[in-house]
């Protein structure tokens, strides 16, 4: 409880920016504050949100995962391949998608820990490998004809989109896990000072492997959700998704040097990016200026946040 409060206070600047942007949008447009639109925002951030939560684990261990986008595509394609109507029960394509992601994460983790190769290189390699595999598996064409059971994964449940429920569940579980599990504490320790953690008896390699594998699993989930949403396994989907996800995490106060950061922060980062994207579209800002404004708001938000948390 204490830690949560401290954290919200810590990220107060960011919260302020989000509220400010939200307020400006409510004034500038009639639609921003409508239930329908806020549901939209929630729906749109859910994929980036799931990825961001996953990559938070990796960043906390002072690693990085650049393969998110490609693995989203690969998992989506893998899932779609098994999702043709009447072929398998719906659990099969979902499991295939999740396991594909987890397998990629596991390979990343193994290369980082056993191979001793820098995470940047490993996951950059995985980025091109997974993209290549997605294209090979699908023959370069979208894998269509998915069963309704699977695409229903993107529908609403009691008025809330299922992707949003997934995201919420994932975020809550991750938050709970990092706070209350021994392994969660170990993740912070490994990222904070790997050698010291090892000397203190933390199984550093296993902890890192876990972080990459979990990130992969969640990336697989994002792939399945995306495939359900766009009703195809798209081999060229997810371009540059890793940048948005990592940006959200870093905006939320997680250090790329590892050991510092929270899921609450990540959620705020995801929210900021989502609100900007939605708001600029609602305002009808031209694409060219959208890019400029988005960049300025993100840098500005982080600048304000850091200024406030320093004082």
């Amino acid at each position: 409880m204490l830690a949560l409060d401290r954290n919200l206070l810590h990220r107060f600047g960011l919260l302020l920016v989000i509220l400010g942007v939200g307020l400006a949008l409510s004034v500038a447009t009639d639609t921003f504050l409508s239930v329908a639109n806020l549901t939209n925002v929630a729906r749109q951030i859910s994929i980036n949100g799931i990825l961001a939560v996953g990559v938070t684990f990796v960043l906390l261990t002072a690693g990085v995962d650049l393969s998110l986008g490609s693995v989203v595509a690969l998992s989506g394609v893998a899932c779609a391949t098994f999702a043709h109507p009447g072929e398998h029960p719906v659990i099969i394509p979902i499991a295939v998608g999740l396991l594909t992601g987890a397998a990629c994460g596991l390979v990343n983790g193994a290369l980082v820990t056993r191979g001793g190769v820098a995470p940047f290189i490993v996951t950059l390699g995985m980025m091109t490998i997974a993209r290549g595999l997605a294209l090979i598996v699908s023959g370069g064409r979208p894998v269509a004809n998915m069963s309704n059971e699977l695409t229903a994964f993107a529908d609403d449940l009691f008025g809330v989109p299922i992707p949003v429920l997934c995201f919420a569940a994932v975020a809550f579980a991750a938050w709970f896990f990092l706070r209350n599990f021994r392994l969660g504490r170990h993740i912070y320790a490994v990222g904070g000072n790997e050698n010291a953690a090892r000397a203190a008896g933390v199984p550093v390699e296993r902890v890192k492997l876990f972080a990459y594998a979990l990130c992969g699993l969640l990336t697989g989930l994002a792939g399945v959700v995306l495939a359900a949403r766009i009703t195809t396994g798209q081999p060229n989907a997810g371009q540059a998704y890793e940048l948005d996800a990592i940006a959200a995490v870093v905006i939320g106060g997680t250090s790329l040097a590892g050991g510092v950061g929270t899921i609450t922060g990540t959620l705020l980062g995801v929210l900021l990016i989502g609100v900007i994207n939605n708001g600029l579209d609602l305002m009808g800002v031209s694409s060219y200026y959208q890019a400029v404004i988005k960049g300025v708001i993100i840098v500005g938000a982080v600048w304000l946040d850091r200024r406030q948390s320093r004082s």
């Binding site: 204490l2 021994r182 912070y188 320790a189 953690a197 000397a199 008896g201 933390v202």
Partner: protein, 491 residues
């Protein structure tokens, strides 16, 4: 020459240094004394331009100055040796020593020959045998400390602030440093010196100022002080009997080390430790003490040789293996192998023994916090709360937290590599008592310390190392400093 006038420093609303005024004169060694967390380092960092004061100001040669950065202070002629070692690991020793004032040929092009010459000269002055073209990351902690000293000496400053420069040094280097300080004094340099080693104060200092809880308690010429009086000023009470009596070891052998070898660091190392016994590894800097301890703890396994615990051969490939076997260690490299700086003090303390405060894989926060508070109270660790990041604590308090982390797992063999480094005299006494209590409880202790008096007073037996080989095994109660040193010196 340099005066602090009503200097005050706050950290997050907490006043760490209350308005303090001190004066430092040319050609004088001014010792700054106080318990851990008293504010000595903070005061020095303000003087060196690393922190900006929240009140008062610094007066330099009669003028009010406000240093915006260490650069300004260095330009003015104030250099500092930091308590926290600050190597740039992938530059050479010479580059580290000349950092920030590299000799240049023209247009900022470095004169490498002059750079090496300068580094060589400074290292020679400190009688250290370190090649200036070695990479900093290959140095031991003690060698790193020597480089830090050389770095400050090379500045040709008028004031040198030395924050526990000898914490990681053994006698030989300390003596060299003292000779260097004498030369500085003769040149009219003002030296501000912080240490927790009592005898150094009386050997060196002309004046002593004592801080307690961020306040100046008093300032007096060293000649007017006695150790007892000084301790009372620092601690606020008397401290008799720093070294407690040694309990008698049992006949039970806990640890046997047989023929441990990892060239070129050490070879054919054999010794044993009984339950209830304190065995010290002594030797000069770089003799291989840390490496042997690291081998037993699994940080850097030996190439050959056997380790037997309770008569059973054990294979220790990692600290996890060692911990599982009941071996705990406090490492010498506090920053590199000890602290997780961003985690709270409490979480640092419970890190190794975390399993004890869990239901299955889940943490029991109540039990954990209770243990953290108990440990912090037991070791009198000064921090605003268990959640304060350990990186913000004073050096001594960090050390105590790491000691507490090690003991919380209840190891049977405890390896202590320089456990009292940077620890104040009061806390030292507590740690000495603790060591003997642990021995009394039947634990075996392997102690490494560069302070020979400490070794002689605490250990039952001393294994003296010389360049990676056992030179002698001495009965601590029957020997003296000279004998130990004679065995430790290279022939």
């Amino acid at each position: 020459m340099l005066r602090a006038l009503e200097l005050r420093k706050d950290f997050g609303g907490l006043t760490v240094l209350h308005p303090t005024s001190v004066e430092f004169r040319p050609g004088e060694v001014h010792a700054l004394m106080g318990e851990n967390g008293a504010g000595k380092s903070t005061l020095m960092k303000v003087l060196a331009g690393l922190y900006r004061p929240d009140g008062g100001h610094v007066e330099w040669r009669g003028n009010k100055v406000a240093f915006g950065s260490p650069h300004d202070a260095l330009v003015a002629g104030i250099a500092m040796i930091h308590q926290e070692l600050m190597p740039i690991p992938d530059l050479t020793v010479a580059e580290n020593i000349t950092l920030g004032h590299e000799p240049c040929v023209s247009l900022g092009r470095i004169d490498r020959a002059a750079q090496l010459r300068l580094a060589d000269k400074l290292l020679l002055e400190l009688e250290a045998d370190i090649a200036p073209d070695r990479l900093m990351r290959t140095l031991t902690v003690a060698q790193t400390q020597v480089v830090e000293i050389a770095k400050a000496l090379g500045r040709q400053a008028d004031v040198i602030l030395m924050d526990e420069p000898t914490a990681a040094l053994s006698d030989h280097e300390v003596a060299a440093l003292f000779r260097a300080i004498a030369r500085l004094k003769a040149r009219g340099v003002a030296v501000v010196y912080t240490t927790h080693k009592m005898e150094e104060v009386f050997k060196l200092a002309d004046r002593v100022s004592v801080l307690r809880d961020g306040r100046l308690v008093g300032s007096a010429p060293a000649a007017e002080l006695s150790p007892a009086k000084l301790i009372t000023m620092m601690v606020g009470r008397d401290l008799s009997d720093v070294y407690p009596a040694r309990p008698k070891p049992s006949a039970d052998i806990l640890l046997e080390v047989d023929g441990l070898t990892r060239e070129p660091a050490y070879r054919e190392i054999s010794f044993r430790i009984h339950r209830g016994e304190v065995v010290a590894l002594a030797g000069l800097m770089g003799a291989g003490r840390t490496e042997i301890a690291s081998a037993i703890y699994g940080l850097q396994p030996a190439a050959s040789g056997q380790i037997r615990l309770r008569g059973q051969p054990i294979s220790v490939r990692s600290p996890r293996d060692a911990l599982a076997a009941g071996i705990g260690m406090v490492t010498e490299d506090r920053k590199g192998l000890g602290l997780i700086p961003a985690l709270g003090v409490g979480q640092n303390i419970t890190l190794t023994a975390l399993r004890e405060f869990c239901y299955g894989p889940m943490l029991n926060h109540t039990a954990e916090v209770a243990a953290q508070q108990a440990q912090m109270a037991g070791f009198s660790i000064k921090a605003s709360s268990p959640a304060q990041p350990i990186g913000q604590l004073s050096g001594g308090n960090q050390q105590k937290a790491l000691l507490s982390r090690c003991l919380l797992t209840g190891p049977e063999l405890i390896i202590l590599d320089e456990p009292t480094r940077g620890i104040d005299i009061g806390a030292k006494a507590e740690i000495y008592a603790l060591i003997q209590r642990l021995a009394h409880a039947g634990k075996a202790i392997l102690l490494i310390s560069s302070e020979l008096p400490e070794v002689l007073a605490l250990a039952h037996r001393i294994v003296v190392l010389r360049r990676g080989s056992v030179a002698a095994t001495l009965d601590a109660t029957q020997t003296d400093q000279e004998t130990v040193l004679r065995h430790a010196m290279p022939l």
